[in-house]
Amino acid sequence: MENEKLLSVQHLSRFYGSLAAVNNISFHLNKGEVLGFLGPNGAGKSSTMQVITGNLAPSAGQINICGFDLLDSAKQAKANIGYLPEQPPLYRELTVDEYLSFCAQINRVEKSKQKSALTRAKERCGLTDVSKRLINNLSKGYQQRVGIAQAIIHAPAIVVLDEPTVGLDPIQIREIRTLIRELAEDHGVILSTHILPEVQMTCDRVQIINKGQLVYSDNISNLKQRMQSNSLIVGLKNAPSETELAALSHIEHIEIMSDNRFRLSHAAEHHPAENIAQLAVKNNWGLFELTPGRKTLEQIFVELTYNEVIADETDVETDKGASAA
């Protein structure tokens, strides 16, 4: 069951006029998985979400949801998907209960099960206390939760959340992230975001999209490995001279960071940490810090998305000029 494919997207493209918002993207989602969609603004994240939920028709490509083609058997496919757009689609004049039971009805939840579906969705999203209140009078955080409750009320196989934590306070963000992890236990979740720590915390797999194209797609564990760079951060109270450090085996480059802290780059295949520790004790260097240097997800993200930006810079400049005129 673990590797059951819930969603498969093949060669998906979507054009706005001549602009390709999504350009030949293929990916899939397994059961019990949180797939993170990362990308700068305007990269095509939201367009992709809209296409897989049927809010936009694809210009080319195939979308298969739980064995149903989204175009050929739209109703069955849509019944298996829950969607929270960037802006939660709320009817603000209704109370939380009224709104959610309407959502249960239009998502074809059986009449006998509507009540339990409603209670369950409210419990999961922490809405039980506000069920009788008007959505209009709720705070932004609670409105966002109502949006999530709406997406999971019919227990769909796939939950698509487009930037679910935007505009929430830190505590709410943590709650929503916990909720997303919980959802992944029996749904597949697609999460679009540009908040990088969120991806590290909640996702099993990450896809980075830039200018409508997938530029990176891998497990979070592989990503973490990639984040390990070949460097060490060393703090020494009685530091030897720079040349002395450079003379250590396998050290390729030394960068002095601040008083008594150094970044040592080393060859990938050798790990000099043990060696350094021994030497430090022997020579009484006063070792107080020894940590493997890490690239942040931010750096990887910038690396992946920025390279192309430089290549396309000239194009973008001319585009801007044209649109300004």
Binding site: A57, S59, A79, P89, L90, E93, L94, E98, I106
Partner: protein
């Protein structure tokens, strides 16, 4: 089934805003005033009518003008009822809720249409209470009353279908209201232009006029061609709305 869920939600939301109540109250007050003044007029000339052979009765002299005024007032009011149907959902981005649910565009449009239609039915029922109250004092021409209620129902149903379509074209409710009003007024007066100059042209314009088709009903004539005119009108704008909503998803 799904259609009724959507229609019920639409009707409920309408009654949760003060607009629906205000419209019901104001239309009722104005029509009651017109009805009473018409009735008073009738009572003044009643004794003269007795002497005339084949004189028009209370239905022709009181009830028909009442529905005539009601039709005109509804032309002003319908745009306010229909303007928010789709445009506001588009502006609030809540359309995604309906579109990502397992329901078709046809169900969405017809559901919304029936929602407003049931509101209109409530209005017509309330207006009809006035002529029905005359049964306490005398008798009415029941057949004429029936055709005229049927006529105004069809007329308002046609108004609403046009309003729904206009609302599906824009994200601004006020623009939807203004253009609905413009279109309705145009279709109301379109036969004025014909004149005597060109027989075929004026015949065609007369056929398009919503008022002409309604007038037959107020004379107690049930003409199947008038009936078909309204059915065609309604289906045309419902189909256009479905296509317009579907067009949002497609390539542009």
């Amino acid at each position: 089934m799904m259609i009724f869920t959507l229609a019920w939600r639409e009707l409920r939301s309408l009654f949760l805003s003060p607009l629906a109540w205000a419209i019901l109250a104001i239309v009722q007050i104005i029509l009651a005033y017109l009805f009473l003044s018409q009735l008073q007029e009738f009572l003044l000339i009643q004794h003269k009518l007795v002497t005339i052979e084949n004189a028009p009765g209370i239905t022709e002299l009181v009830v028909v003008p009442l529905y005539g005024s009601a039709a005109f007032i509804m032309m002003l009011v319908t745009p306010l009822l229909t303007m928010r149907l789709i445009s506001e959902e588009r502006r609030n981005k809540s359309l995604a809720l309906l579109i990502s649910a397992p329901i078709s565009m046809t169900e969405i449009i017809i559901g919304k249409y029936l929602g407003i239609l049931s509101f209109a039915a409530i209005m017509i029922a309330m207006i009809t209470l006035m002529p029905l109250s005359l049964y306490f004092a005398g008798t009415l021409d029941g057949g004429l009353l029936f055709t005229i209620v049927l006529g105004i129902s069809l007329l308002i149903a046609a108004f609403i279908s046009l309003g729904l379509y206009m609302s599906s074209l824009t994200a601004q409710p006020t623009i939807a209201a203004m253009s609905t009003f413009g279109m309705l007024l145009m279709l109301w007066i379109i036969d004025w232009a014909g004149g005597k100059a060109n027989e075929t042209a004026s015949g065609f314009l007369e056929y398009l006029s919503m008022l002409r088709h309604f007038e037959a009903f107020t004379a107690g004539i049930f003409n199947s061609s008038d009936f078909i005119y309204y059915l065609l009108f309604i289906s045309l704008f419902l189909i256009l709305s479905i296509r317009r909503l579907d067009g949002d998803r497609l390539q542009r």
